[in-house]
């Protein structure tokens, strides 16, 4: 690093005393590289925890009628194993890798919002701690990672395990959404000159698409969890069929999140493979456009297939038919990817490094998992095997044989960039073969166990011919897999001290992260190489034979946007999805008659209509305020801002009056499902108005402090956008709840 670069990094370092001041430096860091490493280390801890939980289950299942774990303990183990692996390991490890690599791969100095980045990370240990604290507070949740209602309702799950589960997942969900918003803003606004969207490395492209999946899918889970929490703590009955609720709605909400979630856990892994395979086959990826487009296709289709998780519920023939068809359809873009990777390998000068070995194993195992997945699209087969170990085998082939092997490939590939030292290839080979044999031994036999009828989620099994032996084999494989992970840990520890020095670009790779030193300096790059194609470092090394430039010689595409605006718009997208779920729940529960309080007798549509006009007027005033500020008239701006707050306050007052009258009539949130959905929907909207008022108040303070004199008014524009959004949501809510009373 040159002397000037060092000076720059010290100057811009957010930490007192420079970036490297010990433990405090790590806790208070906002540097994306350090946060990325923190993500990876934290997930490693949870990975070991989740793995131990899995091994405990395998010990219990090693022979028939075993009594190592009680039924309840087994239930807690498979719940914790699933929840831990999905929310505390796979999602954060992928986000962590993206966090470390995306800014480097796009030639940026850091993420778009470094402080938000730190927040997203710290929510992870927070959520993980809450989830595991349940073990001390009366028992972990034992209802599965899907928490099917009504089993997750108070009468059936009376310990506080499910409460910790809901809170923890809510926190983790917020963290993931925040990280995704940050990634979207980073990729859209922080690319180096010349790195147009069509020249993006595929890993970055897939993280980009994946971030949209996260911000659209997570709100479905969050809204369902909020309802479950309200059910458990306010005595309502969203998901209790005996009191008019609907347990199937929980499943719809959960899987509307749950199926996109499968691809949230797969797309970044596809991205890793799309980086590793070309580099070690020494050829550019075959069909870049097809790989990129199939990512978009997968993302879109993933929202239209969730009901295939619910074939056994009995949704009716038409539903089964359509969702069977879409589920088969989604195999097409996935197949396109597998073909593209295989075609890249075909005729390549393959270097079988450990990273490449894991990538090739990924290809085979993911294809097996994908093929067994297609069998679930056939409804009768699904009915037969959905409750068995066949399904367990399937999703472990996708998630372990697929995603985890890709993550291992990524770790071996990028470890030298992160630490400056190569992982030992000798230990790596041991690690790979143990993982390969262990994984396939553990899970391949489970296909047969499932087809023979062994039920999943059950703590033991009867002594039927062959079952004991196959389970024994599976357990042996699981322990071998566990040992493989220990080898990886050992490799990391040894290589950190004694590993071969990597240099900038040990693999002769082509993407930007290899253009800087290993590990990269605080500012990432002193100079970003010119980018005209998808392989800037190839062009740099071969000026006589560069790749043909993609998209002409344009240095910029039409995607240079302001980061605060991108951040706010992404945030509003995820908020819209959240409100959409609440509104759908309202419509669903109120579409048929029920006993008890009804909107006709309780609500005053005329008066609420007037308060609605106040809220709409506030949209106008906040727009005018922005215009005034742009014209430099600070005083008028503050008056209009005050007027906006006043109008917002009047609206909240109106809501308060409405609530007061309803309470006065003896109606509470748990009176019936109308009251429940009414209070939930309007309550959340009111909360958003309140948050908007606080934001406006902050703007007022900033304006008073003269913050906008420089003409940097992005904050005002973003908060204005939020305020318009809150008003627009109310318009929808008003039409859904009140409009029919006026007509």
């Amino acid at each position: 690093m040159s002397a000037t670069a060092q000076a720059v990094s010290r100057e811009e370092s957010p930490l007192p005393g420079g970036a490297g001041s010990g433990l405090y430096g790590w806790v208070a860091t906002v540097d994306h590289k350090r946060i990325g490493i923190l993500y990876l280390l934290t997930t490693l801890v949870f990975f070991v925890l989740g793995g131990v939980e899995a091994l405990l289950m395998r010990i219990q299942l090693v022979r028939p009628n075993n009594t190592f774990l009680s039924p309840d303990a087994f239930g807690q183990m498979f719940t914790m194993h699933g929840t831990t692996m999905i929310f505390l390991v796979v999602m954060p490890v992928l986000i962590g890798l993206a966090n470390y690599l995306v800014p480097l791969m796009i030639g940026a100095r850091d993420m778009a919002f470094p402080r938000l980045n730190a927040l997203s990370f710290w929510l992870l240990p927070c959520g993980g701690f809450l989830l595991h604290y349940s073990l001390l507070a009366g028992g972990a949740p034992a209802v599965g990672w899907f928490s099917y209602a009504p089993l997750s309702e108070t009468p059936y799950a009376s310990t506080s395990g499910v409460d910790y589960w809901t809170l923890s997942l809510l926190i983790l969900g917020i963290g993931s959404v925040a990280a995704s918003i940050n990634l979207i803003a980073t990729i859209l606004t922080r690319r180096a000159p010349g790195l147009t969207m069509q020249r993006l490395p595929l890993f970055v492209w897939m993280v980009f698409v994946n971030s949209f999946l996260v911000i659209l899918a997570l709100p479905a889970l969050n809204s369902a969890i909020v309802m479950l929490f309200i059910d458990r703590h306010l005595g309502t009955h969203f998901f209790a069929p005996a009191q008019g609720g609907s347990a199937v709605l929980w499943q719809h909400f959960f899987w509307a999140f749950g199926h996109p979630e499968v691809y949230i856990m797969a797309l970044p892994a596809f991205g890793i493979i799309s980086e590793v395979v070309p580099v070690f086959a020494r050829r550019p990826i075959f069909g870049y456009e097809f790989v990129a487009a199939s990512t978009v296709a997968i993302a879109l289709l993933s929202f239209g297939v969730w009901a295939h998780h619910m074939f056994a519920v009995g949704l009716g023939h038409p539903m089964d038919l359509f969702f069977s068809a879409t589920s088969m359809l989604i195999a097409v873009p996935t197949g396109v990817k597998v073909f593209a990777w295989s075609a890249t390998l075909w005729g390549g000068a393959i270097r079988l490094t450990t990273a490449m070995l894991f990538a090739v194993a990924f290809l085979i195992q993911f294809t097996i998992g994908g093929l067994s997945g297609i069998t679930f699209a056939v409804v009768p087969i699904d009915w037969q095997v959905t409750g068995t170990y066949y399904l367990v085998a399937h999703f472990h082939y996708v998630l372990f044989g697929g995603t985890f092997f890709a993550v291992f490939a990524g770790i071996y590939y990028w470890f030298p960039k992160i630490t400056g030292r190569l992982l030992s290839e000798r230990l790596g080979k041991v690690n790979f073969w143990m993982a390969l044999i262990g994984f396939n031994t553990a899970f391949f036999v489970q296909h047969f166990l499932g087809l023979m009828g062994m039920a999943r989620r059950v703590y033991t099994y009867p002594d039927l011919p062959g079952w004991g032996l196959l389970n024994l084999i599976s357990t042996v494989g699981a322990f071998l897999l566990g040992a493989a992970v220990l080898v990886l840990l050992w490799n990391i520890v040894v290589s950190l001290r004694h590993g071969r020095l990597a240099g900038d670009n040990p693999w002769q790779a082509w993407t930007l992260e290899w253009a800087t030193t290993s590990p990269p300096p605080a500012q990432n790059f002193d100079r970003v190489p010119p980018i005209r194609s998808r392989r800037p470092l190839w062009d740099l090394a071969h000026p006589e034979n560069p790749d043909p430039p993609v998209g002409g010689r344009a240095a910029r595409d039409g995607f240079v946007v302001e980061k605060n605006r991108v951040g706010m718009v992404s945030f509003l997208i995820t908020e819209s999805a959240f409100f959409l779920m609440l509104i759908l729940a309202y419509l669903y529960y109120n579409s048929h008659g029920m006993s008890g309080p009804a909107p006709e007798s309780l609500l005053n549509a005329q008066r609420t209509g007037l308060y609605t006009l106040c809220l709409l007027a506030s949209s106008l005033t906040v727009w005018l305020a922005e215009q005034q500020l742009r014209a430099g008239k600070t005083v008028a701006f503050r008056w209009l801002l005050g007027l906006t707050m006043g109008l917002g306050g009047v609206f909240l007052f109106g809501q308060g009056r409405e609530y007061f009258r309803i309470f006065h009539a003896g109606v509470l949130v748990n009176s019936n499902l109308f009251a429940t959905t009414f209070f939930t929907l309007t309550g959340f909207h009111g909360l958003h108005v309140g948050v908007g008022l606080v934001a406006l108040l902050i703007l007022m303070g900033l304006a008073g402090a003269g913050d906008f004199k420089s003409g940097r008014i992005e904050a005002v524009r973003s908060i204005g956008l939020y305020w318009h959004f809150v008003d627009a949501v109310w318009l929808v809510v008003f039409s859904v709840i009140y409009l029919k009373l006026l007509l």
């Binding site: 539903m319 002769q508 002409g552 048929h592």
Partner: protein, 281 residues
């Protein structure tokens, strides 16, 4: 009545539909002065689909019998027919190689696109308000108005995506957002219709059996009214979304084609690492 008998006899010789189809083809022929490019195939497909929608057994079923057939008509008229016809119009190239933002008409484009989006979504949501849905089946003039407005709104919706003049079109990525949000709107409506316990169009709940085909539909095809409405909702939810989805993929392809390198990327042999053998290509 058997299925085969029904499918052969339920065609309608509606003179208006025939006249509209033929007029369209003739006008297109005159406009093109008899020289047809490959695009004419799209137009022909559009006209054929238009004819099938309004004169085949689909129309007979939609006329008071099946909500799902009525929905199918909707989707064809709003989503497929206009898109195919617009694709059939010859492209008018824009002179010069101005950048996207300098092309004529670029300024009003977002506003027009927004209007098109609202018309497309409006067409979908509006005609499924229970009152309007019933009125369209009961009154023949409302019925005709419905068809014409669906077609019109369909053209307005698709123009920013597949309009013949490049100046009218949205840039590909904006188009993707346009279609994705439309897909969401249509999904939500489809979900509501699929799960609504009340009938959207009460007329289909108790069909008047003018043709004596009700036993065929309900017993042989298994299309009871509840099943029928679920099917209608699912048609809007899944296949309609697949139309938008196809549009999105097409736009994606267009985006990459516009920026394509002049020649395919070569297989680039090897940066050679020390001690590694070079590979000849």
């Amino acid at each position: 009545m058997t299925t085969a008998h029904f499918l052969t006899t339920a065609w309608q010789w509606n003179p208006r539909v025939i006249a509209a189809s033929i007029t369209t083809l003739v006008l297109y022929g005159i406009w093109q002065r008899g020289r047809f490019s490959g695009r004419a195939g799209w137009l022909l497909a559009g006209v054929l689909l238009f004819y099938l929608t309004l004169a085949s057994p689909i129309d007979t079923l939609a006329d008071g019998y099946l909500f799902s057939a009525h929905m199918l008509q909707h989707l064809l008229l709003l989503l497929l027919v206009p898109a195919l016809m617009l694709l059939g119009l010859p492209a008018t190239p824009v002179a010069g190689s101005q950048s996207v933002s300098q092309r004529p008409g670029a300024k009003g484009r977002p506003r027009r696109a927004l209007a098109g989006w609202w018309l497309g979504m409006g067409g979908m949501w509006l005609w499924h308000a229970p009152a309007l849905c019933d009125a369209a089946v009961a009154n023949v003039w409302v019925h005709r108005l419905q068809y014409v407005s669906l077609l019109g709104m369909g053209f307005a919706f698709w123009r920013p995506i597949v309009g013949p003049r490049r100046g009218q079109r949205l840039p590909p990525l904006a188009g993707i957002i346009y279609l994705f949000s439309a897909c969401l709107g249509c999904t939500v409506l489809g979900i509501i219709i699929t799960f609504a316990p009340v009938e959207i169009c009460s007329i289909y709940r108790h069909p008047v059996d003018r043709l004596g085909i009700l036993p065929l539909l309900q017993n042989q095809w298994g299309l009871t009214p509840a099943y029928d409405q679920q099917l209608g909702g699912l048609l809007m939810w899944v296949p309609a979304c697949l139309v938008y989805f196809t549009g999105i993929l097409a736009l994606f392809a267009r985006w990459h084609r516009e920026a394509d390198p002049p020649a395919p990327v070569r297989d680039s042999p090897l940066t050679t690492a020390p001690g590694e053998k070079t590979h000849a290509w």
